[in-house]
């Protein structure tokens, strides 16, 4: 076994803050695994990490990439361009070389890739990855393991902590046969001991970051964080139907909930899934349902019932490209208006949007709290990019965050009314005795305070107000909105959901070059916080950045809402629907378009 440390060698060592490494191959090559290993390693090394993955919509196979940005300091986006490109195939090279920045390193499998002869913009490093992997593993493996060979190369180039990597291999593969773990190490070692310094004159080291006393970091993707947030929030029941990219949440809930005494049901369809979840909640077990794209559309009637009957419920929408079947494996933020208004009738409910992977945990937990407290359906909006992206973040403090579910079947007093006009509805689930022996009804018909149907026009107006007023009360109780950067000035960049990272990075860069710019990410979409009007007024322009269409009138979905509410002509819109996350330069251009840089030279 080779030594786990790099021998002193004459090659230059370069200290870097962060590196964007794009791994391009086919989906069955295990490049997601390398990405996952790098992400976990970064998480354990007090480095920041963010990953970005594309998976083909085909069942198996097809080009696929995994991108890791790791480094010291806060990593906010997956990166506009790559410092390193690892290309396994000619198509990987052809499709992704344009993403490599000038002077960047192209690491390629010389058994499959032939770069153009005239290519001088990049550092070209060819390694016969396929042949050497087969050789290392004894020739019978048909190139399986070349992802680990490549990881060995990267470990060498970036002076990664090999002992920690080996520990991760052991956790991942140790449960399988010894052969598997041995082959993993063999392939890795072959890559690690490859004399890369013959072809690459540099090594890279991440700048040392002071290891704080803060909490341990954990590394996971957004769907995992969201699932754990639901569990921390006290959800033990739910139902769903498979659809990308929601499915991994239902899979994890199905597997996790039994140990907590709960159950998750794979229902026959989306309508059954939402109905079953509502049934759990009505029975006093706060439940979750969720889906993506078409599945959310199918749930809308039942969600209207939950608003009308005032049933607590958490609804997760991992957005993808629409309309219809749309772009099932691409990112888009085009379900915002549906989340707010998607059911028929005036149907107020709560809509929250997660900013990043860490926030998927916190927002899911908060959704449970709001659903319970206000007896209302709460939407959690995430998206394709957050679903599969891996990030490291501080381990949450469960001592303060964990909510143990309770079933409230205490006796109710004689005057108990499920839809009391004087207070927020708190249902008596079945099993509760009501003094006087008159039991409550829950219904989707307009009803009186006892839950019995009422077509009385005044009662309809009163009940409508009751359902609206509790949402307005939430707005009054929201924490103050936090503006990052300048709190007054040229442009306030407003976003919601996963655009948080690219916007934050853009604003940092713009401020670094002297612009007075702020960033506000709105987590509470419905109701909106009450303090936005004053914040907007302190900026010359408000630029709302969204991954959705500019619509018939030139404004994205949130921009349209904000303009409608505040009648502020300074509110502008920056939209795109190319199925990809925002690049920093795209947002910078958007800012430039509405508020040119004073020196006129960009």
């Amino acid at each position: 076994m080779p030594q786990d440390t790099v021998n002193p060698i004459p090659a230059r060592e370069e200290l870097i803050r962060d590196a964007v490494i794009r791994l391009a191959g086919n989906s069955q090559d295990g490049i997601q695994s390398i990405g996952g290993f790098l992400a976990r390693l970064a998480g354990r090394s007090a480095q920041e990490v963010m990953t970005y993955m594309t998976i083909p919509a085909t069942i198996s196979g097809g080009p696929s990439i995994f991108q890791v940005r790791m480094g010291t300091g806060e990593v906010l986006s997956a990166g506009d361009e790559a410092d390193f490109l690892l290309a396994f195939y000619q198509h990987s090279y052809d499709n992704h070389i344009g993403f490599l920045k000038e002077g960047g390193v192209l690491l390629y499998d010389s058994d499959h890739v032939k770069p153009e002869d005239s290519e001088h913009r990049f550092v070209l490093v060819g390694v016969p990855i396929s042949a050497l992997t087969v050789e290392a593993l004894g020739g019978s493996s048909r190139e399986k393991g070349k992802n680990l060979f490549a990881l060995g190369l990267l470990a060498r180039i970036f002076k990664l902590d090999v002992a920690k990597l080996r520990a991760i291999f052991k956790e991942r593969f140790g449960g399988k046969s010894e052969d598997v773990l041995r082959n993993v190490n063999l392939a890795f070692d072959a890559g690690f001991s490859y004399p890369i310094d013959n072809v690459l004159d540099r090594y890279f080291s991440f700048q040392a970051e002071e290891q704080g006393d803060g909490p341990q970091q954990v590394t996971m993707d957004g769907n995992t964080a969201l699932t754990l947030g639901l569990i921390a929030g006290g959800v033990r029941h739910g139902a769903g139907y498979p659809i990308t990219p929601w499915s991994t949440i239902m899979e994890m809930l199905r597997q996790q909930l039994p140990q907590y005494g709960g159950v998750f049901v794979q229902a026959e369809d989306e309508l059954a899934a939402v109905s079953m979840a509502i049934g759990f909640s009505y029975a006093g077990r706060l439940a979750v349902t969720g889906s993506s794209g078409p599945g959310i559309s199918l749930k809308m009637e039942a969600l209207g019932w939950a608003t009308m009957a005032e049933i607590p419920l958490v609804v997760v929408n991992i957005q993808r490209g629409g309309p219809s079947t749309g772009l099932p494996t691409n990112v888009e933020q085009s379900d915002l208006l549906q989340a707010i208004h998607g059911s028929h009738g005036d149907c107020p409910r709560v809509v929250l949007a997660a900013e990043n992977v860490e926030d998927c945990f916190y927002i899911a937990r908060e959704a449970c709290e709001l659903a319970r407290k206000y007896s209302v359906p709460v939407f959690v909006l995430s998206d394709m990019s957050l679903a599969s992206r891996i990030e490291a973040f501080d381990e949450p403090d469960l001592d303060t965050l964990m909510v143990e579910p309770t079933l409230d079947t205490e006796d109710r007093p004689e005057n108990f009314k499920p839809y009391d006009l004087e207070r927020i509805t708190r249902h008596a689930p079945p099993g509760s005795w009501v003094e006087g022996g008159v039991f409550p009804q829950v219904t989707g018909l307009e009803h009186d305070e006892s839950g019995h149907p009422s077509a009385n026009p005044q009662m309809h107006a009163k009940m409508m107000k009751k359902r609206r007023a509790k949402i307005q009360q939430i707005a009054a109780e929201l924490p103050a909105s936090q503006v990052f950067g300048d709190t007054e000035g040229e442009v306030l960049v407003v976003g919601w959901g996963s655009t948080w990272g690219p916007i934050r990075e853009t604003v940092i860069r713009e401020r670094d070059r002297g612009r007075k710019i702020g960033h506000l990410q709105i987590r509470y979409i419905n109701p909106l916080p009450n303090d936005l009007e004053g914040i907007f007024a302190r900026f010359d322009k408000v630029l709302v950045v969204e991954m959705n269409d500019e619509g018939l009138y030139g404004y994205g979905q949130l921009a349209m809402l904000l303009r409608a509410r505040y009648c502020n002509p300074a509110i502008r819109s920056l939209n795109k629907t190319d199925g990809l996350t925002f690049k920093i330069k795209e947002i910078m251009q958007g800012i430039e378009a509405i508020s040119p840089f004073p020196t006129a030279t960009l």
Binding site: T224, S275, G279, Y282, A283, E301, W433, G437, F439
Partner: protein, 302 residues
Amino acid sequence: MSTASPTPPKAERGVLTKKGLQADHPTWCPGCGDFAVLAAYYKTLEKLDLPQQNIVTLAGIGCSSRFPYFVNTHGGHFIHGRSLPFASGVSLGRDDLHVFVFGGDGDGFSIGGNHLDHAGRKNFRMTYVIMDNFVYGLTKKQTSPTSPQGFKSKTDPWGVFDRPTNPMRKLLSSGATFVARTHATQIKHMMEMYERAAKHDGFSVIEVLSECVEFNKGAFDAGNPRKGGAFEIIDEAVHDVTDMAAALALAEEPWPGKFGVYYQSVEPTKNKLESDLVQATREKVGHRSDKELLSKTFASMR
């Protein structure tokens, strides 16, 4: 419905009476078969004498689905066609409850037809009563999935073309573990079917022929001796209720067919299977607290 779990002592809450079970006065048309269905439900509940607070009466949409408002138990009036998944959540979430679902032929065989197949297959512990009148009554006489060919409705004024659903064949093929058929004019038989369904540990479903006097008058006279018809009860000394092939053969008999229990079998309920899974899993994780379990999951992601 639940027979597996202990229910709280009911003595202190008193004995169930018809008066105690009545709620709003039914809004059905005078003479509607649904009145009898409701009356038989009261009587069955009185007889079963379950703790009142643990009875749940649920429904979808339709004339018959107004049912919960007329019964003084915990009740829910859900959306069209989805009462079964809604009730499944209630049943699976709470093993201590006795879940009864009422609905019509539109709810059960048309808009909610798919749910019937899966509720049956998964064998949720509950009782489902389909009040079949062969017509859409609430919306005033459109064709229903059980309307016979030739029936003149507002959507088929020249007579229905489409072949009707065979309710018993559909219920049997769903995988329901208790399938019975009765007639709203035969109170005693209806009560017997309810009681047996309620005591069945699994998904029990009953088709009740319940006449719509407004839009389909006389439709079920052939099954009513008082109207010159024949109410032929299945002789269980001859018909083996565990024999699916025999049950399917009964389902193919010409109108008005036979009444009684077509099929009954003992299969583990979804409720039991999930609850066993929980027990086994809790055992495996050493009955750790929720916080310890979640902390462990986070620790594995360090």
